[in-house]
């Protein structure tokens, strides 16, 4: 009984997965055709591959510039999120019996409930007054805003790490800093993967913050670039879809190679 394949579930899951894949198939097909082929049949696979759609999209949206911006913002945000947010969480997790740290814990977590529209208008004033309306400033915002959720994820995990591990190091005269970097941080690897993946997905795909913070077209991230050029694409679906695929492809490629690892990372965060 245990080893029998459940065929009803298999068929339903397979049908459902077609609903996921169909829009993506359509996007690939449109990106590879030209208007003449599209007029003949809207969904059939392309007869000739019109790769010039992609070269046109690259030139129109300045793809490599946007790719570099997105990559820089994401790499900086993920790296410093892991290094700083874990440290803040460690200090909080080990001092929850003290008033200041307990306050910090609830302060960061309760900020999760503040809807972004409330700070959307003032933060634009603030970032432009501080001249932070560029990719680096944006990265800083991601690192800071991530604290809310990340403190929640990290603190739960750190509290499950037995204190004895640290006490041995403390007896040997290690400072709090070296306890954190040499004992705790390496133990955080699985949860760092979770936080890193979630931060990466968020910063790479985010549209709202770049929309309001960045004000020069050459600073635009990949999603923002698609939005800026939307008007110019309006009738040229083939170039537009080539451009969308280009913007989606870096993460999709990474996902193809690391999907099991990525899904497990997200699941681990959910279980804590």
């Amino acid at each position: 009984m245990k080893n029998r394949i459940n065929w009803t579930a298999t068929i339903l899951i397979a049908l459902g997965s077609l609903l996921i894949l169909f829009p993506l198939y359509m996007a690939v097909v449109v990106a590879l055709k030209n208007p003449v082929e599209m007029a003949r049949s809207i969904l059939s696979p392309p007869i000739h591959w019109h790769l010039e759609n992609f070269t046109r999209a690259i030139a129109m949206t300045d793809f490599f510039q946007a790719l570099a911006n997105s990559a820089m913002i994401t790499v900086i945000a993920v790296t410093f999120t892991l290094l700083t947010n874990s440290m803040v969480a460690y200090a909080i997790a080990r001092n929850l019996n003290r008033r200041f740290f307990k306050f910090l814990y609830y302060y960061f977590i309760s900020a999760m409930f503040i809807p972004f529209p409330l700070i959307m208008l003032p933060i634009v004033k603030e970032t432009s007054a501080l001249e932070m309306n560029h990719p680096l400033g944006l990265s800083l915002l991601y690192i800071v805003y991530g604290l809310s959720l990340n403190i929640f994820i990290y603190v739960g995990y750190i509290r499950s790490i037995p204190r004895e591990l640290e006490e041995a190091a403390i007896m040997d005269g290690a400072s709090t800093w070296s306890v954190f970097w040499k004992v705790i941080f390496p133990l955080l690897a699985p949860i760092n993967a979770t936080v890193g993946i979630l931060t990466c997905l968020w910063t790479w795909n985010d549209f709202m913050l770049p929309l309001i913070v960045l004000n020069e077209p050459e600073m635009a991230t990949l999603p923002l670039k698609q939005y800026i050029f939307q008007g110019q694409f309006s009738t040229d679906y083939n170039t537009a879809f080539a451009s969308y695929l280009l913007a989606l492809s870096p993460l999709v490629l990474i996902y193809l190679f690391a999907q099991r690892w990525i899904i497990n990372g997200v699941t681990k965060g959910a279980l804590k």
Binding site: P23, P115, P122, S175, V252
Partner: protein
């Protein structure tokens, strides 16, 4: 000991200050501006008390954006949770290519909602109408997003398509915490599939149900990218969500302080709703 304590402060105080400067301070500013008549760029402004709030209560556009946002959030939250629980059950069952299907179902979660919205825009605007005409099905032959009455359904479809992935993963994580022996014992006692789900699976994943409902509701209430990508709030103002209204009114409509007041009300609504949801769902968890 003192040095130890000092280190913990050095670890946290900068983060606290930065968070205050870039999150709490703007939030407080937003609350303050909501009591003024500032349009966002004029050099001077006046304190006008609660006038913005009073005007908001009688503003049909605002009322309309709340109706759309709630309709969207409630429908999308229910559909997402039902479907993702079903998918998680399916992916947890004994099926071939399980890892492949898991990977497929998680795929939408790594895609930008804005671009997904653009892709669906084409699907609703070009592909479905053409197929509808070809097959002679009249209700498919026009663009649903251009229909004032039905455009919101198009946005729900995109929202559901994209966010099912994450909820499915959370449910799947929950299902994997349930030991197999429970099901074996239940089936020995003659419990059918439905009774097993009703009395074992569902109660045991209750905490995951709570988290999923609260998270999905909160995310759905903030719906923004989907609307910007697909309708821009139209046709008319049929799909203008609260976040879209605050953005558009605040940045380009000269309603900075007015929309700040709207955002304050939105904050109160979200906090109240989350508390009600948590209280209600957690009570249910304990009773089960």
């Amino acid at each position: 000991m003192r040095r130890r304590r000092m280190a913990f402060y050095i670890m946290t105080v900068p983060a606290f200050l930065l968070f205050f400067a870039f999150h709490t301070f703007p939030a407080l500013q937003g609350i303050y501006y909501s009591l003024t008549d500032w349009n966002g760029y004029r050099p001077t402004y006046h304190f006008i008390g609660l006038k913005n709030y009073w005007l908001l209560l009688n503003d049909e556009d605002v009322l309309h954006s709340y109706l759309f946002t709630f309709k969207y959030a409630i429908v999308a939250t229910i559909i997402v949770n039902v479907l993702s629980l079903l998918i998680a059950l399916g992916l947890n069952a004994k099926i071939p290519f399980r890892n492949f299907f898991r990977a497929v179902y998680f795929l939408p979660n790594i895609l930008s909602i804005l671009i997904v919205g653009f892709i669906f825009n084409y699907l609703f605007g070009q592909v479905i109408p053409e197929l509808g005409q070809k097959w002679g099905i009249s209700f498919l032959s026009s663009n649903i997003l251009g229909n004032e009455k039905w455009a919101w359904v198009g946005i729900v479809i995109v929202g559901v398509w994209q966010s099912i992935a994450f909820n499915t993963i959370l449910y799947l994580a929950g299902l994997q915490t349930i030991p197999d022996e429970l099901y074996e014992a239940a089936s020995l006692d003659g419990a059918g599939k439905w009774r097993q789900f009703r009395f074992i699976t569902f109660p045991l994943i209750a905490p995951f149900f709570t988290i999923n409902m609260v998270l999905a509701m909160k995310n759905n209430l903030n719906v923004f990218d989907h609307v910007i990508a697909m309708t821009g709030g139209g046709p008319g103002r049929a799909t203008e969500s609260i976040a879209v209204l605050i953005y558009q009114g605040g940045f380009t409509g000269g309603e900075f302080s007015y929309q700040s007041a709207n955002a304050v009300i939105f904050l109160l609504v979200i906090v109240t709703l989350t508390f009600i949801q948590l209280k209600f769902l957690q009570k249910r968890e304990m009773e089960m």
